[in-house]
C-alpha cells in the first residue's frame, strides 16, 4: 500500500471525496505538495462544513490560491446546487437523500479505487473490502458467511465479483467525469457572442388534441381495438369525402347497384394479384365488406394507384359487376394533402432538426455532439455560421435521445452507460449547456424509455425533471406543435421499416420517398401488424388530421429534405456512427449532419451543420 492510500483515507476523514482525475493527479504529487494541499483543505473545511468533491476545478483552486481567499470566495457558495444541479425547489430532505446517495456512490468509487490499487499489490486484500461491506449489510450476513467460509474455493468467485465491482465503479467514475466535462462546455466558450434570437419571444404551442400524454385510454380490450380502427376509418373517410366532394356508398349495399357507377370508401383488408396481374382488393367499412377489381392496364398506365397498402383508407369509383359481387375500378382516391406553397413567416429565425442522438451507445459521437453544442453557443467559423447561430431559435428533436436499455437482446454489450436515467442525465447536461433563449421541442422514439407502442406518450416526470425547465417542451410521438406560426408534425418514424418493404419507390436511402407516402395516405403507420406496434387508443393519433407545414422524422439515421405539395419534409440524421448491426444490414447512416432551416424562407434552401462545417443546399 502506497502513501496515496493514506492520503485518500485522510481526505475521507475530512469528508472530502476525490474525483478520479484528481486521484490520478494526486498519485504523482510529491510529499511536501501533498501536505500543503491537505493543510489547505483542512483549513477550508474548518470554516465551511459543506461536503466537497475534489474535482479538477477545486484542486486547481486550492493549489493556486491562498486558502483565506478561497474561504472568502466560497463563503456563500451553494455546493449542493453545484453538485446536484437545478432542483432548487426540491425539499431539503430530498436534497439530503440525494446527497447521501451521491456520497455513498462516491465512497463506493473511492473504495473501488483503493481496491483496484491494492489488487495490483496483492490480490488477497480484496477480502477486506467485502468484509467491510458485509459488516454494513447485516441482512446479507448469512450469505456472506457462506461466501467467506468458502475460502480458497471461493476465491475465484470472489475475484470475479470484485472485478465486477471494480468495473461498475470505474463506470461510475467515468460517468462523473463525462458529466463534469459536459458541464464545462459553455464556460469554455467566449461569452461575447451576440445572439439576435435572444430578443425574440419563444412561441411554442402544442396542439393538445394531438398529444396522447396523459390521455391514454387504452386498456387492451377487444373494444379498444374496434374503437381504434373505426376512428381511423371515420376520420380519413371524412377527409376523403370532403376533399373530393363525394359521398361514399355503404359497402353492404353495394351489391344492389349492379351495373351502376358508385363511389366507395373502405379500409383495405386484403390485396391479391390475379394470374393476369389484376389486383383484387377487399375493402371494409363498419357495416360490411366488398371486393373491388383494379385492371392491370390501368395500373400500368398510372391511371390509378397500384401501390395499395393493407389497412390504408382509400376511395374507389367504378361500376359494380352485373352479378353484384365486385366493382371494376375506374378511379382511386387518397386522402392526400392539398397542394399549397410552403408556408413561411416574416422573421428570419432558424430551426435546427435533430433526432437519434443515442447517448449511451458506444457509437454515440460525443466529441462531435459537443461541437454542435458549441456551435449553438456561438462558437463559429465564418460570417454565415455566425448569422445562423445568432438567429437560431428552435431545436426540434424527433426521438431517440438515448440508446435506451433492453431495446434489443444483448444491448448491454453496446452501451457505455447501462443506466437509463444516467443516459438521460447526460443528454440533459448537454441541453443545459445551450443558451436559454434557444427552445427545444422533444418527442420520444423507439429507443426511449417509454412504452414501445405508438402513439407514445412523452417522457416520465422523473426524466423530464432532469432537463432545464424554461426552454424545453416535451411532446408525445407523434405530435403537432405550432412553432412561431408554423405547424410542425413530429414523428419518430418507426413505421418506415414497414412501408419500405411494401412500396418499391420507398427507399431507405431517400427518406423523403417514404415520408411522402405517409402524407399521401395521411397516416403515419398505414399498415397494422408490422414491426411498428400500435396501442389501440380511443382516437387514432397517427392520422395526419391537419396538413403540417413541416414534417419532421428520424429513425433511419439518414438525412433527407424535401417538399411535398408544400409540406416541408425533414428527416434529421443521427449522432451515432454506423453500428455493427447497420453494417451487417448494409445501411450507411449519415451521422452528425443537422439540417437547419430559415423559417422565413421555407422550402428553398436547407443549411446543414455537417460535422462542424456549415453547408447550404438548394432544396
Amino acid at each position: 500500500m502506497g502513501p496515496i492510500m493514506d492520503i485518500i483515507k485522510l481526505l475521507l476523514d475530512l469528508e472530502i471525496l476525490v474525483s478520479p482525475t484528481c486521484y490520478n493527479r494526486l498519485k504523482s504529487f510529491k510529499k511536501p505538495d501533498l501536505e500543503n494541499l491537505i493543510s489547505k483543505i483542512s483549513k477550508f473545511k474548518n470554516s465551511k462544513k459543506d461536503f466537497i468533491l475534489l474535482d479538477n476545478h477545486f484542486m486547481d483552486s486550492f493549489l493556486n490560491n491562498d486558502v483565506n481567499d478561497l474561504i472568502i470566495e466560497y463563503a456563500n457558495f451553494d455546493f449542493i446546487k453545484y453538485y446536484i444541479g437545478n432542483n432548487k425547489e426540491v425539499q431539503n430532505q430530498e436534497i439530503m437523500s440525494k446527497l447521501d446517495k451521491k456520497l455513498s456512490e462516491e465512497y463506493a468509487l473511492i473504495d473501488s479505487e483503493i481496491k483496484s490499487e491494492k489488487s495490483i499489490e496483492s490480490k488477497n486484500t480484496k477480502e477486506i473490502a467485502s468484509n467491510e461491506k458485509s459488516l454494513t449489510n447485516l441482512e446479507n450476513l448469512e450469505k456472506n458467511d457462506k461466501i467467506n467460509l468458502d475460502l480458497k474455493e471461493g476465491t475465484n468467485n470472489d475475484e470475479e465479483k470484485s472485478e465486477a465491482d471494480i468495473q461498475r465503479d470505474l463506470k461510475l467514475a467515468n460517468r462523473l467525469e463525462r458529466f463534469e466535462k459536459i458541464k464545462s462546455i459553455r464556460k469554455s466558450i467566449n461569452s461575447s457572442f451576440k445572439f439576435d434570437s435572444k430578443d425574440i419571444e419563444t412561441q411554442v404551442k402544442v396542439y393538445e388534441d394531438t398529444d396522447v400524454t396523459g390521455n391514454s385510454t387504452c386498456e387492451g380490450t377487444l373494444d379498444d381495438f374496434i374503437t381504434y380502427f373505426r376512428d381511423r376509418y371515420e376520420t380519413l373517410k371524412t377527409i376523403i369525402e370532403r376533399k373530393y366532394q363525394k359521398k361514399s356508398y355503404p359497402l353492404n349495399k353495394a351489391y344492389t347497384k349492379k351495373n351502376e357507377k358508385i363511389f366507395l370508401v373502405g379500409i383495405i383488408s386484403d390485396v391479391n394479384t390475379t394470374k393476369n396481374g389484376h389486383k383484387m382488393v377487399e375493402i371494409e367499412d363498419q357495416k360490411g365488406d366488398f371486393k373491388v377489381l383494379i385492371m392491370k392496364n390501368k395500373i400500368d398506365n398510372k391511371e390509378i394507384f397500384g401501390d395499395i397498402l393493407l389497412d390504408e383508407i382509400m376511395g374507389f369509383e367504378g361500376t359494380v359487376s352485373n352479378d353484384g359481387r365486385l366493382m371494376f375500378v375506374d378511379k382511386t382516391y387518397r386522402p392526400d394533402v392539398d397542394v399549397k406553397p410552403a408556408k413561411k413567416i416574416d422573421e428570419e429565425i432558424y430551426t435546427a432538426f435533430l433526432s437519434d442522438v443515442h447517448v449511451g451507445s458506444h457509437e454515440f459521437m460525443a466529441k462531435t455532439f459537443e461541437k454542435f453544442i458549441r456551435f449553438l453557443n456561438g462558437e463559429v467559423g465564418n460570417s454565415k455560421e455566425q448569422n445562423i447561430a445568432s438567429k437560431l431559435k428552435y431545436v426540434s428533436i424527433a426521438g431517440d435521445l438515448v440508446d435506451g436499455v433492453g431495446i434489443y437482446p444483448g444491448q448491454e454489450e453496446d452501451l457505455y452507460e447501462v443506466d437509463i436515467v444516467s443516459q438521460y442525465e447526460e443528454v440533459a447536461n448537454y441541453i443545459a449547456q445551450v443558451p436559454e433563449h434557444i427552445h427545444f421541442v422533444i418527442g420520444p422514439g423507439n429507443h426511449d424509455a417509454l412504452r414501445p407502442a405508438e402513439p407514445q406518450p412523452t417522457f416520465t416526470q422523473e426524466i423530464r425533471d432532469l432537463f432545464p425547465k424554461e426552454n424545453v417542451t416535451f411532446v408525445s410521438n407523434p405530435c403537432s406543435v405550432n412553432i412561431h406560426g408554423l405547424d410542425y408534425l413530429l414523428y419518430h418514424g418507426r413505421s418506415f421499416d414497414d412501408v419500405i418493404g411494401q412500396i418499391s419507390e420507398a427507399q431507405y436511402t431517400n427518406p423523403c420517398s417514404i415520408m411522402q407516402e405517409l402524407l399521401k395516405r395521411r397516416h403515419l403507420c398505414p399498415t397494422y401488424g408490422g414491426r411498428c406496434p400500435i396501442a389501440p387508443e380511443v382516437r387514432d393519433y397517427l392520422v395526419i388530421d391537419k396538413k403540417p407545414d413541416i414534417f419532421h422524422t428520424g429513425h433511419i439515421h439518414i438525412n433527407g429534405c424535401g417538399n411535398y405539395k408544400g409540406t416541408i419534409m425533414v428527416n434529421s440524421g443521427t449522432f451515432q456512427e454506423q453500428t455493427s448491426f447497420q453494417k451487417k444490414m448494409g445501411i450507411s447512416p449519415t451521422p452528425a449532419i443537422v439540417p437547419i432551416m430559415d423559417m422565413s424562407n421555407m422550402g428553398k434552401i436547407v443549411h446543414e451543420w455537417d460535422n462542424g462545417a456549415l453547408n447550404s443546399k438548394i432544396m
Binding site: 468484509n131 480458497k152 474455493e153 374496434i226 424509455a449 407502442a453 416520465t460 448494409g586
Partner: protein, 1206 residues
C-alpha cells in the same frame, strides 16, 4: 437367408421376427382387400435394408438392386453419385409423361442420391427438396437449380452439403452450364442470411458476408427454394430468377449449415470422388479454420502446467455455452467446472452410453427430483446434452445436513428421507459422479480429460502389479477405513479411492490449518464413549449415526473433537472438512458440541499424523517439518475468534511458508507416508434441459378418428353433439353418389348398400351425419356410443376420409389417432444393452420363450435378477405405454372382429401378455419405421431400447423422444391418403418399414459406443496427458470394431453395474410443480442448496434469457395482434364491424393482457430477492411501465384522483 452376419441364435431371433411380421402382414392384407378402407392394400412396403428403403421412399422403381450393388462395390457416397448419373441417363425410365421430363429426371436423381446418403430413413429427400429445375442464365446457357424446403434440416449438415454436390454431378452429366448469379442475387443471399438470423433464428454457424459471396459465386448450381418464413426482405426484391421475396429457409440451411459449415467434409468427399470445380472450398476452409483457431485460442481450451511435479494442477477451461441461457423452472445443477459439481467418471453401464450418462440415484433425489430417469440435461462436456439414468456403481454425492453433519449418501433411500421427507439437507457439497463413456468423447471429438481416481483404475493398477486384493478386503468395493490404510501401506500402492478425499479443493495453507485443528482431537474407545464422563454416551441412539454409520465397519474407536461454532477459527476448520468431503457427525450432548470422524484412519494418515498408544491413551503426533515450521502462525490462527478476524486469517495465510510446495496435493503427498491420488481433476457442469416424456400422442384437440364433421360438433368436435342437434356443416372432402341406391357416399363402398362408388373431391358437401352414425353403430352391433371426437376437416390432397367405425371403436377403447391413422405412444429414448427380468416385469418362462435362455455369464436363466443381454430389436416400454397398448390391441381386435369380420388377433387383457408383440419405432423427421418387439415394461417413464434400435431411427439418446405403435395398427390403419398436403406432411409417417436391424445401416454415431467390460490401465494413465480420443482409440473397443462380425449383435460389455435401471425418481419435478412461480421458486431453491451453483446467476439468467424476451415479445405481439373467432375464422386485423365477418359472433383477442403480464410479477420479485443487477431491475421496471401504459386508462386514473380531492 439373412444378409447380415449373425450367430445361429441371433439368426433364429431375426427369422422369428420376420415370420411374425409376415403373419401380421397377412392378417392386415386380407382385411384391407375387403375394400373397407381408403386404399385396398397395405401402404407400408417392407424393407430389409437401405436399398429397399430408398426405393420405398423416393424410388424410382427397380432401383434397389442397383443401389445394393453399387454400395458394396464403391461405398455409400460414390454410389449415390453413380446412381444419380444412371438415373439421369434414363436407366430407370425417362419420365416421358412429366411436364418437363428433363426436370423430372434431374429431380429424381437428386432425391434418390440424397436418400442413399441419408440411409433412406429421414424425410429430407422427400420433403427437403421441393423440386429441381433447369433454368436459364442471362447469357442464354442452361443451369440446374435445386429448390430446398425446410425439412432439409432433417438430413443434417453433411448430407445437405452433399445434396448440393450431387446437384453439381447431375448438372455435369446433363451437360448443363454452371449457375451464373448476378450481383443482386448474390447480395440477396447475404441479406437473407442476416435477416434469418435476426428474425427467424440463428444458424449453427454464422458466416461472414464475404464467405457467402464466395460460396454463391462458386457453387455451380443454384441453391434456392420456397419461402419458409413470412419475413419479407427489404432490399434485393423482385429478382427475376428468385420467385419469392421472403426468406428461403431451406436454401439458407443448405448453404450455411451445409456447404459453408461442412466445407472440410465436402472437400474430403470431393477429393475422394475426384470432382472438379470445388477448389474454391479450400480457400474458404483455410480462411475459416484460421478464424476458428483464433477463437479456440481465446477459449484457451486446455493448458498443461508442466512446471511442477506429478501433482501439478491441470488447467482445464470451463465451457460456458450450456449455461448461456437458463430456462425458467429448469434448474442449473452445476455451474461450469465449479468445485462440487459432477465428477467425471469414465465407463459405461448397461443403461448408459450413446449420449446418455449415468448419475447416482441419490443425486437424483437430492436434486429435489428435478433429475428423473430420462430427464434431459444440457452438459458442459463432452457433448451438448445427455439423458439422466440411474447408475449406483459410481461415487455418491456428499451432503451437509442442518445438524452440520456431513455424509456421503450412498443409499437413495436415505437421500429421499433426508432431502424430501425431513428436508434436512442444507447443502450439497458434491454432486457425485457423472458416468460418461469413452464413445461420447470420441463422438464429440472432445479431448480425453484426466480420469478421476476410481476403483476401476485402482483395480487395474493392482492387477498389473500382480497384487492380490480380494483376499485382503472383505469387500473391495466397500472397504473399511483400516483395511484401506493397511493395504496401501503394505502394498505401497495408492490409498483406496473410497477414502481419497477432495484435498485439492482447498489451499495448501488450509491443509496445515486442518492439521492443527485435528491435532486437538481424541481417539475414544467404546469404553470411553459409554463411560460416565463421556459427552457422547448417547450417540448410538442418534438417528443420523444409525442411518449413516451403523455399518459393518466394526470400529473400535471414534475420533472426537470438541466443536465451538461461535469461534471463527473452529467454523473455518469445520468448513475445511466439508469442502474436502470428509464425512463427520456433529453431535451434541450436555450442551457440548462434538465433531466425530469415523474414517479417522485414512484422514489422519493422509495428513501425516502418527498415532501411538501409551497405556490406555492414544497420542497423536505430527512431526512433519512443514507443519512444525509454521506452528507459531497456526497457533496465532487458532486464536482468531470473532468475525473480524477473517482479515487476519488471510494475512496469516501469507505468512505461512510453503513456497516450495506446489499445491495441496503436493503437500498431502509430502505429509503422508502413503501415496494419495488426486481425487478429481475436473468437475462437469450441467443444467436441466427438458423433462422426460411418456404419453400417448394426441392431436390438438385430441380426436378418435379421421372423420370430418366441420363445426357441427362444436369446439370439442364431438360427433355426438352434431347428431343430437341434427347439425351438419359444409365439408371439403371426396364424395360420390352411389350408382345403386343414390346415397351420398364418402367411402369407396356405399355405407348404405355396399356398392362401389367413385369418389371425387368436392367442396361444400354436407354429409348426413346421422345416417353415417346409425349405419356405423349398426355395423358394429352397438345400440349407442359415448363421446366420439372427430376432426374438423381433412388436410390431405384427395381428402378421402376414414370410416366412422374406426373412430367409434377407438373411442370405446379410449385411444386416440394421429394424423396418419396410427395410434402412437411417445417416450424419451434411453439406451439399454442388458436387463433383468424383474426390471421388465416379464416372467422367466416368457423370456425363455422369447429366446433369452442364458444370462451374461452363460448360466441358464432361472432367476428374475440375472442379467441378460438385450436383443437388438427388443424394446422395454414404459408401463403407461403398455397400458395404452392393451387398449390399442383391444381396439384392433374389435376392429378385426366387428368391422372386418375376421378373428381377433391379440386377445390381451393384462400387461404381461403384450410381451413378444411387434411394434414400430419411429422418429419425427423421418419416413421409415423400424420393427421392434416388446420384451416387457419398466416403471420408468422412458423407452428403454437397444442403442442400435434408437440409432436405426436416426436418434441418439441425449433427450430426444419418439414414438412406438403396434405393427398391426400401422398395417391396418395407416394410409398415405391421410397425410397433409403441405410441406413436411410426409414426415413422421411410416412410408417404409425396416424389418431387420443391420448395425452397419444405422446412425454411425452408435458405432463409437464402447463395448468393453473394463477400460485398460493404459487408458487411465494416458488420460492425464489429455490425448485426443483418436489417440487412445486402439485401447478401447467400440461397436465399429465389431461390425460385420457375429460379435456385432452379442457380447457387448459394460464397465459399471446398475442395481436397477428403474431406481430413482420417475417423474421430474418440473412436471409435478404447478405454476411457473412454483417452478422457478423450486429451481432457485435447488440452486441455493447446491454448492456448485450460483443461484443469483441463475435468477439473472432466467430473467434475462427467458422472462424478459417473453415479456417483450408478448408486449410487442399484443400491439400487432390479430383476432379470431370461435368459428375458426382468423383476422389479421380487427374488422371494422367488430364482429366475425363470417358468423357475426363476438371476436377474441389472440394475445390477452394476462399472457403479456404472465411473468411480470415473478421476474420482479425474483430480481429483488436474488439481488439481480441494476440493469436488469431497470429493464423490468421499464417493461412494467410499458405494460401499465397499455392496460391502464389514464383518464380513469386521473378521474379517480380528482374524485378524491372533491
Amino acid at each position: 437367408m439373412l444378409h447380415v452376419k449373425t450367430s445361429e441364435d441371433m439368426k433364429d431371433y431375426f427369422e422369428n421376427i420376420l415370420k411374425d411380421v409376415m403373419s401380421t402382414y397377412d392378417v392386415a392384407k386380407s382385411c384391407r382387400s375387403k375394400n373397407l378402407d381408403v386404399y385396398n392394400e397395405i401402404e407400408i412396403p417392407l424393407a430389409k435394408d437401405m436399398a429397399d428403403r430408398v426405393e420405398g421412399i423416393v424410388g424410382p422403381a427397380q432401383v434397389s438392386q442397383r443401389i445394393r450393388d453399387l454400395v458394396s462395390e464403391l461405398g455409400k457416397e460414390p454410389a449415390s453419385l453413380e446412381i444419380a448419373k444412371e438415373i439421369v441417363e434414363g436407366n430407370f425410365g425417362g419420365f416421358e409423361n412429366a411436364e418437363s421430363p428433363r426436370d423430372a429426371l434431374a429431380e429424381q436423381a437428386v432425391r434418390t442420391a440424397l436418400a442413399v446418403i441419408t440411409e433412406g430413413i429421414v424425410a429430407a429427400p422427400l420433403e427437403g427438396i421441393a423440386g429441381v429445375k433447369i433454368k436459364k442464365n442471362f447469357d442464354g446457357t442452361e443451369y440446374l437449380a435445386i429448390y430446398f424446403a425446410g425439412p432439409i434440416r432433417s438430413a443434417g449438415g453433411t448430407a445437405q452439403a452433399l445434396a448440393v454436390l450431387v446437384g453439381d454431378y447431375v448438372r455435369k452429366n446433363m451437360g448443363l452450364d454452371i449457375y451464373k448469379p448476378i450481383d443482386d442475387e448474390i447480395e440477396r443471399y447475404v441479406e437473407e442470411v442476416e435477416l434469418h438470423q435476426s428474425e427467424v433464428g440463428n444458424f449453427q454457424y454464422s458466416p461472414k458476408p464475404e464467405e457467402i459471396r464466395i460460396a454463391v459465386k462458386n457453387i455451380s448450381v443454384e441453391i434456392t427454394g420456397e419461402a419458409t418464413d413470412p419475413v419479407d426482405i427489404s432490399g434485393h426484391r423482385d429478382l427475376e430468377r428468385v420467385e419469392t421475396n421472403q426468406i428461403r429457409g431451406g436454401a439458407l440451411l443448405a448453404l450455411v449449415e451445409g456447404v459453408l459449415l461442412k466445407a472440410p467434409k465436402i472437400l474430403r468427399h470431393v477429393d475422394k470422388l475426384k470432382i472438379q470445380g470445388w477448389d474454391w472450398l479450400k480457400d474458404l476452409k483455410s480462411k475459416k479454420s484460421s478464424d476458428e483457431d483464433s477463437i479456440e485460442e481465446e477459449n484457451g481450451d486446455f493448458e498443461l502446467d508442466m512446471t511442477g511435479s506429478e501433482h501439478a494442477d491441470v488447467k482445464i477451461d470451463a465451457i460456458t455455452k450450456y449455461i448461456g441461457d437458463v430456462i425458467a423452472g429448469r434448474p442449473v445443477f452445476a455451474h461450469p467446472s465449479t468445485l462440487g459439481g459432477f465428477r467425471l467418471r469414465y465407463g459405461r453401464s448397461r443403461n448408459t452410453g450413446f449420449a446418455t450418462d449415468g448419475f447416482h440415484p441419490s443425486t437424483m433425489y437430492l436434486s429435489d427430483e428435478f433429475m428423473a430417469i430420462g430427464t434431459q440435461l444440457k452438459t458442459e462436456r463432452p457433448g451438448k446434452a445427455t439423458c439422466v439414468v440411474p447408475v449406483d456403481g459410481i461415487d455418491a454425492p456428499i451432503v451437509k445436513l442442518t445438524s452440520g453433519s456431513v455424509f456421503k449418501v450412498k443409499s437413495p433411500d436415505l437421500a429421499k428421507k433426508y432431502n424430501l421427507d425431513l428436508k434436512e439437507v442444507s447443502e450439497i457439497l458434491f454432486l457425485g459422479d457423472i458416468l460418461v463413456n469413452y464413445g461420447d468423447f470420441l463422438e464429440n471429438n472432445h479431448t480425453i480429460l484426466p480420469s478421476s481416481w476410481c476403483i476401476e483404475w485402482y483395480e487395474q493398477i493392482l492387477k498389473s502389479k500382480n497384487i492380490g486384493y480380494n483376499e485382503f478386503f472383505k469387500d473391495f468395493n466397500d472397504p473399511t477405513p483400516s483395511e484401506a490404510v493397511k493395504f496401501a501401506k503394505e502394498t505401497k500402492t495408492p490409498l483406496h479411492p473410497e477414502f481419497t478425499y477432495h484435498w485439492h479443493d482447498v489451499s495448501k495453507e488450509d491443509i496445515l490449518k486442518l492439521i492443527y485443528f485435528l491435532a486437538d482431537g481424541k481417539l475414544l474407545s467404546l469404553e470411553d464413549i459409554t463411560s460416565s464422563e463421556s459427552n457422547i454416551s448417547e450417540i448410538f441412539k442418534n438417528e443420523q449415526y444409525e442411518d449413516f454409520y451403523d455399518k459393518n465397519w466394526n470400529l473400535e474407536h471414534f475420533y472426537v473433537l470438541k466443536y465451538d461454532n461461535t469461534t471463527e477459527y473452529q467454523k473455518y476448520c469445520k468448513r475445511l472438512l466439508e469442502l474436502i468431503g470428509i464425512p463427520h457427525l456433529v453431535y451434541s450432548e450436555n450442551n457440548i458440541k462434538n465433531i466425530i470422524i469415523f474414517e479417522y484412519e485414512p484422514v489422519l494418515e493422509s495428513l501425516g499424523f502418527e498415532l501411538t498408544k501409551s497405556g490406555d491413551n492414544f497420542k497423536l503426533v505430527n512431526n512433519n517439518e512443514y507443519y512444525l515450521n509454521n506452528l507459531a502462525i497456526l497457533e496465532e490462527f487458532s486464536k482468531c475468534t470473532d468475525f473480524n478476524s477473517k482479515k487476519q486469517i488471510k494475512e496469516l495465510d501469507s505468512n505461512i511458508n510453503l513456497s516450495k510446495i506446489l499445491n495441496s496435493m503436493h503437500l498431502i503427498n509430502l505429509l503422508s507416508k502413503i501415496s494419495i491420488k488426486r481425487n478429481c481433476y475436473v468437475y462437469v457442469g450441467a443444467r436441466m434441459g427438458r423433462p422426460e416424456k411418456a404419453a400417448s400422442r394426441k392431436m390438438k384437440p385430441p380426436v378418435n378418428g379421421l372423420f370430418p364433421i366441420g363445426n357441427s360438433g362444436g369446439m370439442v368436435r364431438l360427433i355426438n353433439n352434431a347428431i343430437e342437434d341434427n347439425a351438419n356443416d359444409d365439408l371439403d372432402i371426396s364424395v360420390g353418389t352411389c350408382p345403386n341406391c343414390g346415397f351420398l357416399s364418402a367411402y369407396k363402398k356405399c355405407p348404405q348398400c355396399g356398392a362401389e362408388v367413385n369418389l371425387k373431391r368436392t367442396q361444400n358437401v354436407r354429409l348426413s351425419l346421422k345416417d353415417y352414425w346409425k349405419i356405423a353403430l349398426a355395423n358394429l352391433s352397438l345400440n349407442k356410443c359415448g363421446d366420439v371426437k372427430c376432426i374438423k376437416g381433412m388436410s390431405s390432397k384427395d381428402k378421402l376420409i376414414e370410416p366412422l367405425e374406426k373412430a367409434i371403436l377407438r373411442a370405446i377403447n379410449e385411444v386416440y389417432v394421429f394424423k396418419d391413422g396410427t395410434t402412437r405412444f411417445d417416450c424419451t429414448d434411453v439406451p439399454i444393452t442388458h436387463f433383468k427380468a424383474s426390471e421388465v416385469h416379464t416372467s422367466v418362462e416368457k423370456l425363455k420363450e422369447l429366446g433369452y435362455s442364458h444370462d451374461i455369464h452363460g448360466n441358464e436363466l432361472f432367476d428374475e435378477n440375472q442379467v441378460l443381454e438385450l436383443k437388438v430389436q427388443d424394446v422395454i416400454v414404459p408401463k403407461s405405454c403398455m397400458e395404452y397398448f392393451v387398449n390399442v390391441s383391444n381396439f384392433i381386435d374389435d376392429l378385426l372382429e366387428k368391422y372386418y369380420g375376421v378373428g381377433r388377433f391379440y386377445n390381451i387383457s393384462t400387461l404381461g401378455e403384450l410381451a413378444g408383440q411387434l411394434i414400430i419405432g419411429m422418429a419425427p423427421h423421418t419416413s421409415a419405421g423400424m420393427v421392434g418387439r416388446i420384451v416387457g415394461y419398466s416403471i420408468a417413464n422412458v423407452g428403454y431400447a437397444h442403442p442400435y434400435f434408437h440409432a436405426s431411427k436416426r436418434r441418439n439418446c441425449d433427450g430426444d423422444e419418439d414414438a412406438f405403435f403396434l405393427l398391426l395398427d400401422a398395417f391396418l390403419n395407416f394410409s398415405k391418403k391421410f397425410l397433409p398436403d403441405k410441406r413436411g406432411g410426409q414426415m413422421d409417417a411410416p412410408l417404409v418399414l425396416t424389418t431387420l436391424l443391420d448395425p452397419k445401416e444405422v446412425d454411425g454415431e452408435v458405432h463409437n459406443m464402447d463395448t468393453l467390460w473394463g477400460y485398460p490401465l493404459e487408458f487411465y494413465e494416458k488420460s492425464i496427458d489429455m490425448p485426443t480420443p483418436k489417440e487412445v482409440k486402439d485401447l478401447i473397443e467400440t461397436v465399429d470394431d465389431r461390425l460385420g462380425t457375429e460379435k456385432q449383435y452379442e457380447g457387448l460389455g459394460y464397465t459399471h453395474e446398475t442395481t436397477r435401471v428403474d431406481s430413482g425418481p420417475l417423474i421430474c419435478s418440473y412436471k409435478t410443480l404447478g405454476s411457473m412461480f412454483e417452478k422457478t421458486t423450486a429451481q432457485l431453491e435447488v440452486g441455493k442448496k447446491i454448492r456448485a451453483t450460483d443461484e443469483r446467476d441463475v435468477a439473472e439468467k432466467v430473467i434475462q434469457t427467458h422472462f424478459v424476451p417473453d415479456l417483450i415479445g408478448n408486449l410487442r405481439a399484443f400491439s400487432r395482434q390479430g383476432v379470431r373467432c370461435k368459428c375458426g375464422a382468423k383476422y389479421r386485423r380487427m374488422p371494422l364491424k367488430g364482429t366475425c365477418k363470417k358468423c357475426n359472433s363476438k371476436l377474441i383477442l389472440t394475445v390477452s393482457k394476462g399472457a403479456v403480464e404472465k411473468y411480470m410479477d415473478v421476474s420482479q420479485s425474483m430480481a429483488e430477492k436474488y439481488e439481480a443487477s441494476d440493469y436488469i431491475k431497470q429493464r423490468l421496471e421499464l417493461i412494467r411501465e410499458g405494460i401499465d401504459s397499455l392496460f391502464v386508462n389514464e383518464r380513469n386514473k386521473q378521474f379517480r384522483i380528482d374524485d378524491f380531492f372533491k
